[in-house]
Chain length 142, copies 2
DNA sequence: TATTGTTATACTCTATAACTATA
DNA sequence: TATAGTTATAGAGTATAACAATA
């Protein structure tokens, strides 16, 4: 049996802070290489998961709804995102990523070498375990 | 034996993206409750680990060095950070967090309920495992 | 010559408040 | 009345370029 390192939550919070800092820094640089700001890249990443309303995107990005207008304006001007008025509620604007937008999110992800090489160091079992742990920590909070 | 979910790196990258979104969103709100922007909170969090030069902080934050000047100006004006000219190289400015700055980072961390409760759901063994996995993925990249 | 930190500039992000359209 | 999205505004973040001080 290996010695239990006895990691407490404060140390784990610190480790998460460092790990996600590395991830976010690399994401910012990768987005910049595609001429996107971090916020634009983040919005595009959320849209990559599927269509979403302006308001819901603002909630996911933890920013005010008024900010999303400008961010989406710039992405739409570049043809990376499409606005669609909801059929069921005409107040709602649904956002849909375009094929070109999908290509850019894929390009950003492909450029995140540090993170990908880090994950490559894990075997299949450890990948499964990390996935399960992240889902338990960050998955649907009650 | 449990069925192997067969998680590939693309899924893990997506999961990391979601985790970062939850963590960063909560961090932004916690920092705002202390009247700090996300960037100011991030800078203070890095400084909490120990003194660091302006240039190194810019690298860690993945932003241009010129930005750090303004961010530190505002933190210094509030007494949360101190500038110290390096004794060994007078071009270098070392940044030191103050006692008041430490208190604020602790207050921010204390307010991150979703993340902390997520970690609380893990037992001692899973905490150790998550810690080891994060270090293997994000620890000192060659 | 090269590096550190600052300043000036232009653009983007951000929250707040007020507004229109729709429910 | 309440909600979705936009606009206007002011302060903060951001990269670029140019600069002074130091190495």
């Amino acid at each position: 049996m290996a010695e239990a390192p006895q990691v407490d939550n404060a140390q784990l919070m610190e480790l998460l802070s460092v790990a996600l800092g590395v991830y976010y820094g690399e994401f910012t640089l990768a987005a910049a290489s595609e001429n996107l700001t971090a916020s634009q890249g983040k919005a595009l990443t959320v849209l990559r998961r599927g269509p979403i309303a302006m308001r819901a995107l603002a909630d996911t990005m933890a920013c005010d709804a008024s900010n999303v207008t400008g961010i989406i304006d710039r992405l739409e001007k570049r043809g990376l995102v499409r606005r669609e008025v909801s059929a069921s509620d005409r107040r709602v604007t649904n956002l849909v990523i375009t094929t070109q937008g999908e290509k850019i999110t894929d390009a950003i992800r492909a450029k995140m070498h540090t993170t990908r090489e880090g994950l490559d160091r894990l075997g299949a079992e450890d990948r499964n375990h990390l996935s399960a742990l992240l889902e338990r920590v960050f998955g649907q909070p009650s």
